[in-house]
Amino acid sequence: MAERSFKKEVEKLRLGAGEHFEGEGILAVTKALLQAGVAYVGGYQGSPISHLMDVFADADPLLRELGVHFESSANEAAAGAMLAASVNYPLRGAVAWKSVVGTNVASDALSNLASGGVTGGALIIIGEDYGEGSSIMQERTHAFAMKSQMWLLDPRPNLPTMVDMVEKGFELSEASNTPVMIEMRVRSCHMTGSFVAKDNRRPSMTVGDAAQTPTRDLDRIVLPPAIFLHEIEKVEKRWPAAQAFVRNNCLNEWFGPERDDIGIIVQGGLFNTLNRALELAGLSDAWGGAKLPIYCLNVVYPLIADEVVEFCAGKKAVLVLEEGQPEFIEHELNTILRRADLHTRLVGKDVLPRAGEYSGQVIGDGLARFLEQWSPERAPARQMAVPVEPELAANVPARPAGFCTGCPERPIFSAMKLVQRELGELHVSADIGCHLFSILPPFHIGNTTMGYGLGTAGASAFRPNAGGKRAVAMMGDGGFWHNGLTSGIGNAVFNQDDTVTIVVDNGYSAATGGQDILSSRADNDIRTTRHPIEKAVRGMGVRWARTLTRTYDVARMRDTLREALTSPEKGPKVIVAQSECMLNKQRRIKPQLAKAASEGKRVVRERFGVDADTCTGDHACIRLSGCPSLSIRPNPDPLRQHPVTHIDNSCVGCGNCGEVAHAAVLCPSFWKASIITNPRRWERVAAKARKWIIGALQRSHARTLAARAF
């Protein structure tokens, strides 16, 4: 897989019974799948579950040994549909993706899967990307669980619990013929910990066995009249079966004293944060020794009415900790309490924020408010935080995400900025992927982003007036193969949209960690690559298509874009902008170059620099580039006051800043240094001769300088 190796992680997947696994939460879940005898795994990469996909992709030999089928699905819908294998056969299957966006994409398949129900355990591993560091809209996957009637596990952040919930999740799925989602929050995915491993289990039936002996059950197919049957079955059979399984296997947990007149109901994923808030209030310790009763929901859907009633009975008030909105759990708990005629007061969103991540601070504040009202003697003294000086805040700059050093996508937007100088502002329909960073400083390009692969579709309503400006759509190669080829390009051809689409073809699904895709240039042992994007769009019927093989040629990029925007040709125009993701390229070539240099081979390293003498500190170059290695430093000139531009040693020599200086006619301060290791003999001789002549000229120049020196 791509340019990163996960060999070390693959070794962890091989641990046997009794051995200690140590590592991140998502890797623990990956191992748990093998322990549970999973027969097939699929999914679509994305934070925070990329690791699962990457490790499986590198674990091909192990998966072969076990008879487990793995594939990187084209998108989440494809992954969701893959679970169809568990409908008729006792095959345990798991798929993984980033939620809520991945669940949105998969929802059609999931609805159908949930309607017909499953025979083998079907597990959907949801990387819930909510809260700090999230890159997507803030929504809850919970709604999908409720509307499609799938069970949702939210295990407390503790590796043994998470691993156990994977196994139990399969059993629950089989016991209730229902697909099960297991929600892994971002921090749980990256949390380190340990658990005692079990042996991996070969699936009792492999996908090959199933294909060999197909079976068919008309009642499981989502077609009338079976669908009406499914709806009834969901309510009357599967739901009670699930509740019975959860109750009998004690999937939910209880902490703290048995008796008290108040208590707390918490989503499993928030348990650790709650414990810290309690600890700081003097009501728990670092070992979870809570002094208040806690009912920890490792299963957040369905709720188990008996357990809830039992927990709440005899309590004046119960605090509900439920992150995000709407507060589905709180609503249902209230219903359960009313039906049981219990008068326990539920306190939830009235003391806790309706929106935003529930951090230790937030839960602590909510808890204090709850205790102040219902158990004042236990309420912590509220500490007033030392106010932070406002001018301190004014001095600490924000650090919006941006393109990496040497990113090949940067010159595309530099070129677009230059075109905008000529043609005026453009409407740019952005997509999902690294290129979305164009909306942030210094580029400020991009008006909307509607979803992965939807850049072109997002521009489809923009039909220019006669001679008017065309809209521009962006799309990454990842998004292109995810669905952009059909929903974007195909749609634009069919409707004869007059838009310009730029497909950023950097060789990987770069934003999700550099996975290979159809158009990757890398060789991949277990998949086929090198399917050109231009060929695909021409196959779709695009007549105007150009492939630029070096995005760093800013002038050419600018000219091609200008041509696309002004050409008399009607219909969609597609520019495929190719250059390899620099992050992956560096990962790939750095060791190669170091090895070549140590073997005495000729190696050229390039780096850029800026002459502080000629730089006047306007920073137009930075506004057209924003490269992390293109920075500033105090002006060494005692007369000038504004900082000069400076290129630090992290420069990878992509050349963008020089090309931008050329294309935008900026200034003569940029230089490129080529450092040649192990030069050839004639090269050394010629360099020596040149150096001798130049040295003589420099000495004569120095004399003229000395003659008029201060």
Binding site: G131, E132, G133, P157, N158, R187, S188, H190, M191, T192, N272, T273, R276, L280, A286, W287, G288, G360, V396, P397, R399, P400, F403, C404, T405, P441, P442, A555, L583, R607, G609, D618, H619, A620, R623, P628, S631, I632, P638, L639, H642, P643, N649, S650, A661, V665, L666, C667, W671, A673, I675, T677, P679, R690, I694, Q698, R699, A702, A709, F710
Partner: protein, 502 residues
């Protein structure tokens, strides 16, 4: 060794790092050293977009195994720092230390703040048209006041001189701070356990460990004033020391040196004449005039650029900056883009202006200067071209550009003199407006246009108003707000709300 948390069994650590600085590696090392010394360690992070220049918080909790009570269940550790509950904060950069303070992670009663004092500028600071950088002193002051203990030094510099990476220096500083109850060898074992670049990392570690024990070094003393080395230099220096107020001496000395190098002693004399004339009107004008007049008189033209690019000192500087080793060869390529405009301006006045005025000549010649040039200054061909260009210096006074600039300077100084007679503060601000003139080509033209807009506005609307100086400064700031001149346009239009409609 001072050991934290006598009253509780856990230690909480937050690392604030930028993408690519090895925050994750550092977090791993800390967990390894803790696990191997009788602690349960849990780390979390939200790496997300960190690799793409964002800042990330890595969070670690350590709990002693088998602490009092025995037979305890697994600890339940938090996954994000809580305000006022962080024992050790490590920040890889000065503003990240500031961010840790802003987020409430640094508290007076318990936090050891270990922070690098170097700067990695944010895009808002870098992309400003002038100086957009935050105030370092303000952050250092807050770090000293708000942490129980602040250990700060330039860790990037330490890493570079140790030939290592900043994460190992931070780890060393952490070990050296004594804020974790483990001996030095235990930390070093953790680095070895990582198995990657062990020798370099241990070097970085050692440098961090040693520096943590030392106090914050005092900022380096500024270099002394420049001294003349030639007879001509001495004569001008003596003259300006006699005639100008003391606060202008250093700047005027730099100005004289710049102009002698840029053209010759005669040109520097003109400069001193002009500064003296302004100083005679009001001494307060001397220092700003010395600065801005020197910068304008030594304007950037192809002759100057060529002169700077071919110097031996520059070659040496580049070789140092890119770290050329022995046995390696260095080639340097410049990105230059002289347009027909610049070429003509370097030519004698009549010829240059005739070509620029002629449609036909322009059409024929412009294609030759439409593309940027890759000028290899380590190659003979381009080196000789640049050397010849630099040799045109003696003829510069006859060039079109020279005439244009002297004319502009003349108008600017006239206005300064005019205003200075009634409002010295405003005159100082007008001098300061020279800072808008920067760069080459479009950038230069934008700067000149902004300056002329301001000077025109000053003449027609600002002179004689009571707060003229502040208003001129405001106009200058507006010109540095955006490239398109929107803020300046807005500021200028607001100057004259009662302008009659015609």
């Amino acid at each position: 060794m001072e050991i934290f948390n006598q009253h509780r069994d856990r230690i909480t650590i937050a690392i604030l790092a930028l993408g690519g600085e090895g925050g994750g590696v550092l977090a791993d090392w800390i967990q390894v050293v803790a696990r191997q010394n009788g602690y349960v360690a849990q780390g979390t992070s939200v790496p997300g977009v960190a690799q793409r220049t964002g800042s990330t918080v890595y969070y670690i909790e350590l709990v002693r195994i088998g602490a009092a009570g025995g037979n305890r269940p697994d600890p339940v550790l938090a996954m994000m720092p809580v305000r006022g509950d962080v024992d050790i904060v490590i920040a890889s950069e000065l503003m990240e230390a500031g961010r840790a303070i802003l987020r409430g992670f640094v508290s007076k009663d318990r936090t050891t703040l270990i922070g690098s004092t170097h700067r990695v500028y944010a895009i808002s600071e870098k992309s400003a048209l002038g100086d957009g950088t935050g105030a370092n002193a303000r952050i250092l002051d807050a770090a000293e006041r708000r942490a129980a203990r602040f250990i700060g030094f330039d860790m990037a510099e330490a890493a570079q001189s140790a030939g290592s990476v900043i994460s190992s220096v931070m780890f060393g500083a952490m070990a050296g701070s004594g804020s974790l109850p483990f001996p030095r060898e235990a930390f070093e074992d953790a680095v070895r356990h990582g198995g990657k670049a062990v020798a370099a990392n241990l070097k970085g570690f050692a440098s961090g460990f040693d520096a943590a024990g030392r106090a914050l070094p005092a900022p380096a003393e500024a270099a002394g004033p420049r001294a003349p080395t030639t007879a001509a230099g001495r004569a001008l220096h003596d003259r300006l020391c006699r005639s100008l107020p003391e606060e202008a001496h250093a700047l005027a000395t730099d100005g004289v040196a710049r102009l002698m190098e840029w053209q010759d002693a005669r040109y520097a004399e003109v400069y001193v004449d002009r500064v003296e004339e302004l100083a005679a009107i009001a001494p307060a004008l001397a220092a700003p005039a010395a600065r801005h007049l020197a910068l304008w008189m030594a304007y950037e033209d192809p002759i100057r650029v060529a002169d700077l690019k071919i110097r031996a000192t520059r070659s040496a500087h580049i070789a140092r900056e890119v770290r050329v080793g022995s046995g390696q060869l260095l080639r340097v390529t410049e990105y230059m883009h002289p347009r027909l405009q610049e070429v003509c301006e370097t030519l004698p006045r009549r010829i240059g202006s005739r070509i620029l005025a002629s449609e036909g000549w322009r059409r024929r010649l412009e294609p030759f200067f439409a593309r940027g040039r890759h000028v290899e200054t380590t190659g003979l061909r381009w080196f000789i071209v640049l050397r010849l260009l630099a040799a045109m210096r003696p003829f510069r006074r006859g060039s079109l550009r020279y005439a244009m600039e002297q004319e502009r300077i003349g108008r600017w100084l006239d206005l300064v003199r005019d205003v200075a007679r009634s409002d010295v503060d405003a005159a100082v601000e007008i001098l300061g407006c020279q800072a808008l003139v920067k760069g080459y080509s479009d950038t230069f033209e934008r700067g000149i246009a902004n300056l002329e807009t301001i000077l025109a506005a000053v003449e027609s609307h600002v002179i004689g108003t009571p707060d003229a100086a502040a208003r001129i400064a405001a106009l200058r700031d507006a010109a540095l707000q955006d490239e398109e001149g929107k803020a300046l346009g807005c500021a200028v239009s607001q100057l004259s709300p009662v302008r009659q409609a015609s």
